[in-house]
C-alpha cells in the first residue's frame, strides 16, 4: 500500500563531525544510502573508515560531542515515514529496539555483569511496556533458534557463557522486541572463524523467520560476502562503491575495492599473487583533496587530485565513486579466477 515499502531507511547527506583542537574531524562525509526492506546489506571498511559512525547515525546515537546532520528517514511497515533526526527523546527511545535494533561488538560489555541473562530480557520487555509472558516465550524461541538451551542460558550470568554463546544471546535480546531492522557492528569480530561462520548461517535463518532487514558492518569482506545480498564499501569516511554482492566480487569497479579483495588471504588464490595495499588510510582531520583515495591509487591523475568524483552507474544496481572505474579492472586484475558469467550474477 505504501509506495516507499521498497526502502526501509534512507540516508541523505549524512555527516558526522567532531570539533577537535587540531581542526574539524569529519568522520562521516556526505553519505547517501538506501536500505531496502528484507535485504542484508554488508558495509565493509578498514578500521577508522567511519563504518561504525554510519551505524550510530542510523539510530541517531552518535556520541557527544559529535554532530550529526543530514536527513535520515525511516519507513515503517505501516504508517508515515519517520524523520529520525527530528524525534523527541521519548520517541527516539521507542524507535530504538522496537523498530531499529543494534548489536555491538564485544557482547561482554553490552551485558550488565551483575544481572542474569533473563534479567536483561525482562528489563528490556518492561522498559518498552511489552507483555512479559509473550515476550519471554519469544525469547525462548529465539534462543533455541540460535542453537542455545534457553533454560540454561536465561539462568546464567554473562561471564558463565562462552564468547560465542554470549554473542548469540545478545542477538536474541536485540530481536526480542520484534524490530524491522537489525544493525550489527562487527557482531562476530572477537570470535574464532568457525563460530563466526556458524553465527552467520544462523542469522540468515533468523532473517527469514522473523522478516528482518539486516545491516552487517565489518572489516572482513570475505566473511560478509557469504551473507549479504548487497555490499557498500567505505573508504576515508565515505561510501566509495555499492552494489550487489556478486557484482562487487566479480566486477568491483573501485580501485580500492579491488585492492582490498586482492589483499585478503584466501584459500583459493594462488599464493604468489596476494598483495597488500601501499600506503595508509588518511587521518579524518586531513583527508586528501579530490578523491580521498588518490595518494594510494595506481590510476590517479590530475583530475583525481583536483576534484572529488560523483557516483557513476556501473549498472542499475552498482554505483562507484571513481573517474576511472572503466579502467579499474584492467589496471588492478583480480588474483583469483572468478567465474565471470554476468547472467549468473543477476539471477541471484
Amino acid at each position: 500500500m505504501y509506495s516507499a515499502s521498497e526502502t526501509i531507511i534512507e540516508l541523505r547527506n549524512t555527516e558526522v563531525v567532531f570539533d577537535m583542537s587540531r581542526g574539524v574531524s569529519r568522520v562521516l562525509d556526505n553519505v547517501d544510502l538506501d536500505i531496502r526492506r528484507g535485504e542484508i546489506l554488508g558495509v565493509v571498511g578498514e578500521s577508522g573508515s567511519g563504518k561504525s559512525m554510519l551505524a550510530s547515525a542510523m539510530l541517531d546515537a552518535v556520541v557527544d560531542p559529535g554532530i550529526l546532520s543530514g536527513q535520515i528517514t525511516y519507513y515503517p511497515d505501516d504508517g508515515d515515514p519517520v524523520n529520525v533526526l527530528g524525534l523527541s527523546d521519548e520517541e527516539l527511545r521507542r524507535l530504538r529496539w522496537e523498530d531499529i535494533s543494534m548489536v555491538f561488538q564485544g557482547a561482554m560489555s553490552s551485558f550488565n555483569p551483575t544481572m542474569s541473562v533473563k534479567g536483561h530480557f525482562v528489563e528490556t520487555l518492561e522498559a518498552h511496556e511489552y507483555d512479559r509472558e509473550e515476550g519471554m516465550e519469544r525469547a525462548h524461541e529465539l534462543l533455541s533458534d540460535l542453537y542455545l538451551d534457553p533454560e540454561r542460558v536465561l539462568e546464567s550470568y554473562p561471564h558463565e557463557l562462552s564468547g560465542g554463546m554470549r554473542q548469540r544471546a545478545l542477538i536474541a535480546l536485540s530481536v526480542v522486541l520484534e524490530p524491522d531492522l537489525l544493525v550489527m557492528d562487527e557482531p562476530t569480530a572477537a570470535l574464532d572463524l568457525l563460530m563466526q561462520r556458524s553465527i552467520l548461517s544462523l542469522l540468515e535463518g533468523l532473517k527469514e523467520k522473523y522478516d528482518l532487514t539486516m545491516v552487517f558492518i565489518t572489516h572482513d569482506l570475505p566473511l560478509v560476502a557469504e551473507l549479504a545480498n548487497r555490499m557498500a564499501v567505505m573508504y576515508a569516511f565515505e561510501l566509495v562503491e555499492k552494489g550487489s554482492t556478486d557484482e562487487i566480487l566479480q566486477n568491483a569497479a573501485h580501485p580500492y575495492t579491488r585492492a582490498l579483495l586482492n589483499s585478503t588471504p584466501n584459500l583459493d588464490a594462488p599464493l604468489s599473487e596476494m598483495t597488500s595495499i601501499e600506503g595508509s588510510a588518511p587521518d579524518p582531520v586531513n583527508v586528501p583533496e579530490g578523491c580521498s583515495y588518490h595518494p594510494r591509487c595506481p590510476l590517479a591523475d590530475e583530475q583525481c587530485v583536483a576534484e572529488a568524483p560523483d557516483f557513476h552507474d556501473v549498472s542499475s544496481s552498482h554505483q562507484v565513486e571513481c573517474f576511472h572505474w572503466e579502467d579499474a579492472a584492467e589496471a588492478i586484475p583480480f588474483n583469483i579466477e572468478q567465474p565471470s558469467s554476468p547472467e549468473e550474477g543477476e539471477a541471484r
Binding site: 562462552s162 556478486d246 589483499s263 597488500s276
Partner: protein, 375 residues
C-alpha cells in the same frame, strides 16, 4: 610451494622436540572446598618436532590449547607431563639444574622468543621505542657498548621497514600504528638472534589489508635470519599463507589434541580429519559460487567443556561422521602420507569404525548437548 621442495626432515635433529606433552591447569578451589579441584586439560598427549628454519602453524578454535602448546614449545609454560627439549637438552631440567645440563637455561631462554597477540599491551607505553628495544640487549649482552647497541637497534628497525629509523626510535608506542607496533615487537624478538619465534595471533589484530604485509615481512626475515616460527592463528587462510610460503606445516588442534598435521597445501587441499574439513568450511571464500552460507557441518556449534572432554575421540560430540566406536575408543595417529598425520579412524580402511552404527542425536538429547559450555 609444493611438497617436493619441502625440506627433508629425515635425518635432521629437531630444534625443539615435544614428547607426549600435557598441560593441565587446576582450577583453584575455595579454602574450605575439599572436593577434587577441576582440571582443565589445555594440552594432552602432543608429540611435535620443530626443525631449524621450520614453520609450524597451529590452528583451532578459541580454547583449543593452541596458545598453550605454543608457549610450551618455547619453554614459557611448564608441561605437567611429557618433555620439551631444545637441541636434545630438556628445557625444564636445565631450568631446575637437574642432571648434566649441556645448554644453560639462559641460552635456551634467549633462543626461544615470542611475539604477543596484542602489540598495544606488550610494549611499555611510557618508554620510547629505542629504550624498549635496548632493554633486552642490556640484559643479555651486557658487554656491548651503548653505541653498538643503538646501532644494532636502528639497523633492525630499518630492516623491518621502519624508516627513517631515528624518527621511529624516538617515538612512544601510542605514536605508532598497529602494524608498526607489531614490527617493534618483531624487532625485539629478533634482537636476541633466536632460533625459534612463537607468533601468537601476531596478525589477527591487524586490519585485513595489513596482514599480508606483516606476514611477508616475517617470511623475509625468516629467510634472512634462519629463524623457525610457530605461528598460532584461528584463521586457516592466514595459517596457510604463512606456512605454505615457507614450505612449513599446519597443525590442527581440537580440545588440547593435535588431530591433524601435515604440509600446508595438503591440509588445505586434501584435509583428512573431519574437524579440519569443518575449519575449511568456516574459512570464507571469495568465489560467489563457493561455500554458500549453508548450515554448519557440525552437529552442534559450541565446543565442549575442556574440563571434561568427551571420551573416545574428543570430536565425536560434534563430528558429522561420528559412529558408536568413536565414543568408546581413542583414535591413534595414522600416517596418511609423508609428514601428514591424522587422528581419525576413517584413515584405516579395515577399522571396525566402518561397521559401527552412526551416532544419532534425537531432539531431546540434542538439547542437552547444546548445554555443554566452554569457557
Amino acid at each position: 610451494m609444493s611438497v617436493d621442495t619441502h625440506p627433508d626432515y629425515e635425518g635432521r635433529d629437531p630444534l625443539v622436540s615435544l614428547e607426549d606433552v600435557e598441560v593441565h591447569f587446576e582450577e583453584s578451589s575455595g579454602l574450605f572446598d575439599f572436593s577434587e579441584p577441576e582440571v582443565v586439560r589445555a594440552v594432552d598427549g602432543v608429540d611435535l618436532d620443530i626443525f631449524e628454519q621450520d614453520v609450524v602453524a597451529l590452528v583451532g578454535e578459541s580454547g583449543c590449547g593452541k596458545t598453550t602448546l605454543g608457549k610450551t614449545t618455547i619453554g614459557l609454560q611448564r608441561p605437567t607431563g611429557g618433555s620439551v627439549s631444545y637441541r636434545g637438552q630438556d628445557i625444564w631440567d636445565a631450568k631446575d639444574g637437574k642432571g648434566d645440563v649441556e645448554i644453560p637455561y639462559k641460552d635456551i631462554r634467549s633462543s626461544l622468543q615470542i611475539i604477543h597477540q596484542d602489540p598495544g599491551s606488550s610494549l611499555n607505553p611510557n618508554r620510547r621505542v629505542m629504550k624498549i628495544l635496548e632493554a633486552p640487549l642490556k640484559r643479555w649482552q651486557s658487554q656491548m657498548s651503548a653505541g653498538d647497541r643503538r646501532g644494532q637497534v636502528l639497523s633492525m628497525l630499518e630492516e623491518v621497514g621502519m624508516t627513517p629509523p631515528d624518527d621511529y626510535a624516538g617515538r612512544y608506542p601510542h605514536q605508532l600504528s598497529g602494524g608498526e607496533k607489531q614490527r617493534v615487537a618483531l624487532v625485539r624478538a629478533l634482537l636476541m638472534d633466536p632460533d625459534l619465534i612463537l607468533a601468537d595471533e601476531a596478525v589477527s589484530a591487524l586490519d585485513v589489508s595489513l596482514r599480508v604485509e606483516m606476514m611477508d615481512l616475517m617470511l623475509d626475515l625468516q629467510e634472512k635470519f634462519d629463524t623457525s616460527f610457530v605461528f598460532v592463528s584461528h584463521d586457516l587462510s592466514n595459517a596457510r599463507y604463512f606456512a605454505a610460503h615457507s614450505g612449513g606445516r599446519i597443525g590442527v588442534m581440537y580440545l588440547g589434541e593435535l588431530v591433524e598435521i601435515g604440509p600446508a597445501e595438503k591440509i588445505i587441499n586434501n584435509p583428512q580429519h573431519p574437524y579440519t574439513k569443518v575449519l575449511r568450511w568456516a574459512t570464507p571464500d571469495l568465489t560467489p559460487d563457493g561455500a554458500s552460507s549453508d548450515k554448519p557441518p557440525v552437529r552442534k556449534i559450541d565446543i565442549p567443556d575442556p574440563k571434561n572432554p568427551p571420551p573416545g575421540c574428543r570430536f565425536h560430540t560434534r563430528c558429522p561422521e561420528a559412529r558408536q566406536v568413536c565414543m568408546e575408543q581413542t583414535p591413534p595417529e595414522y600416517t596418511t602420507e609423508e609428514f601428514h598425520e591424522t587422528k581419525c579412524f576413517r584413515e584405516d580402511d579395515s577399522h571396525e569404525y566402518w561397521s559401527s552404527p552412526q551416532i544419532t542425536d534425537d531432539e531431546n538429547e540434542a538439547d542437552q548437548l547444546y548445554s555443554e559450555a566452554d569457557d
